[in-house]
């Protein structure tokens, strides 16, 4: 269990949030032109990193807004929080 600093509400317990998985996966601009392999990459394949991960969270039991978090998945330490549309704090 850890605390997440919601950019809208401040520090809250993780149980108030829902994880949205890997961030910055761009939805295909022209879906009709994608091959099956490309669809599989977009839909299913994940980095599933052990280490620094850029990920999405939603404050389900709070403001219900989505935002991004940078967290080390090996020890659950959060190093940055930034809003949707903002640039990630370091090069990903």
């Amino acid at each position: 269990m850890f605390v997440i600093n919601c950019p809208y509400c401040g520090e809250r317990e993780q149980s108030e949030f829902k994880a949205g998985g890997e961030a910055h996966i761009v939805r295909p601009k022209q879906p009709t032109e994608l091959s099956d392999d490309q669809w599989a990459e977009y839909l299913f394949m994940r980095k599933n990193i052990k280490g620094i991960q850029f990920e999405r969270w939603v404050h389900t039991h709070g403001c219900r807004k989505w935002f991004n978090v940078v967290r080390d998945t090996s020890n659950d330490e959060i190093t940055a929080v930034y809003k949707m549309g903002e640039k990630p704090p370091t090069n990903k």
């Binding site: 317990e13 993780q14 099956d36 299913f44 599933n48 998945t73």
Partner: protein, 417 residues
């Protein structure tokens, strides 16, 4: 040839205060080259090595393990074994494993304490009732024993369950697979390790894989903390760390690794002689031979490799346990822990070749891999030895995420993932 374990060997060793038992497996340093290297010394990995040696007559095999054998999810799960899965492909896979479990202690000459005490799955709402009935029919069509029980029959089979209609999620019925049960998790790893070792497999512990060396589109070997090991075939059975190994080879997998928690109580006298699982409220419980209640909680919904989960998950499970079993209200919990499970989008495993020649993956077992240990090892060994899947694991290939031919067991498999 190893000494056979028997009542006679037990008596004989008692005379020397059990100080002269032969080591069950050696502790070798890695050789320069192996025909096949298995990454991951859990139950699945050791079983794979065992069947490669036994059924495919391959001799030059190593299992590399970063910690100690059976120290990962093999030693962290709630040891439930069942095969009451909805879809044909899953039923075939898990029942194959269950059939091997039934003769495993004899085959390995190692008591894995497989106990067919039955697994009961509860229904708490109308949709549960319909789903469970449907699954019972599907199971029986696949030759898997399954019966549907009404509330009174549930109460009769497990009298400590609170079947009052007034509880928050009343028990409306359940299914029972009598051939299902539990086994001793450590013994499975140790038994396979002993059997594999006897056939010449090198089990190398404290040996972490740091990289996979590729030559074009085929594998050449692995970099480890004990040096470079040359090999043409690599079988990865790394559970929660499968994606980490895949990244070393430049692959991505459809997996997310999440903490799954379990806990045990202080030991008490026999009180529950079966395994009861509840999908809707996510609580399952059985009792170990030591007398501890073994309770399984759910997964956290975020990716983590930290081997610890959230307290609210445990709290939710214990709420449900207390509602269903008021008799446990004063039990004290002794230990709680987390394991990292690799979950596929369709909650079914991957036992498959990859786009890289000589690289094979056995992963994605998610929250339910223990039950499949013998079958998984057998089928993965077949896949590696023949470079082709067995018909029972053909559906569990990596290509299903491209073709869309998923084996969707999410919610269908008698437990919520």
């Amino acid at each position: 040839m190893k000494n056979k374990y028997s009542i006679f060997s037990l008596v004989k060793n008692a005379f020397s205060y059990h100080e002269n038992w032969e080591k069950a497996w050696k502790d070798p340093e890695p050789k320069k080259e192996y025909e096949i290297v298995i990454i991951g010394g859990g139950g699945h990995g050791l079983a794979t090595a065992y069947y490669l040696a036994k059924k495919h007559n391959l001799k030059n095999i190593a299992v590399v393990e970063k910690g100690w054998i059976g120290g990962g999810n093999t030693g962290r799960n709630t040891t439930i074994i069942r095969s009451n899965y909805l879809w044909d492909a899953s039923a075939g896979l898990y029942d194959h494993a269950l059939k091997i479990w039934e003769g495993l202690s004899q085959e390995l000459n190692y008591n894995v304490m497989f106990s067919q005490r039955g697994v009961m799955n509860l229904a708490h709402n109308l949709q549960d009732v319909r789903d469970l009935k449907r699954r019972t029919h599907a199971n029986r069509l696949n030759g898997i024993d399954a019966v549907y029980l009404n509330t009174e029959q549930v109460k009769k089979f497990c009298p400590i369950i609170n079947t009052s209609p007034d509880i928050r999620y009343p028990v409306l019925g359940g299914t029972l697979q009598r051939r299902a049960g539990t086994a001793r998790h450590d013994a499975v790893a140790w038994g396979y390790a002993r059997g594999a070792d006897e056939m010449g497999v090198d089990i190398i512990q404290n040996c972490e894989v740091k990289g996979i060396k590729r030559n074009g589109n085929s594998v050449e070997g692995i970099e480890t903390t004990k040096g470079f090991i040359k090999t043409k075939k690599i079988g990865v059975v790394a559970a929660g760390h499968s994606s980490v190994i895949a990244n070393m080879a430049g692959l991505r997998l459809p997996l997310e690794s999440k903490p799954l928690q379990a806990l045990v109580s202080e030991p008490v006298k026999p009180i529950i002689d079966t395994v009861v699982m509840s999908n809707a409220v996510h609580a399952y419980v059985s009792q170990s031979d030591k007398g501890e209640l073994v309770i399984g909680a759910g997964t956290d919904d975020y990716i983590s490799y930290s081997q610890k989960g959230s307290h609210d998950i445990v709290e939710g499970t214990l709420n449900a346990i207390l509602e269903l079993y008021p008799i446990f209200s004063r039990m004290r919990m002794l230990r709680q822990w987390g394991g990292i499970v690799d979950i596929c989008p369709d909650a079914s495993p991957i036992i498959s070749k990859t786009s890289i020649k000589g690289l094979y993956f056995n992963c994605g077992w998610g929250t339910g891999g223990f039950k499949a240990t013998p079958g998984s090892g057998d089928l993965f060994a077949h896949t590696i030895a023949n470079d082709e899947p067995h018909k029972l694991n053909a559906a569990f290939n990596l290509n299903r995420f491209v073709s869309g031919d998923l084996v969707d067991e999410h919610g269908a498999a008698a437990v919520a993932h």
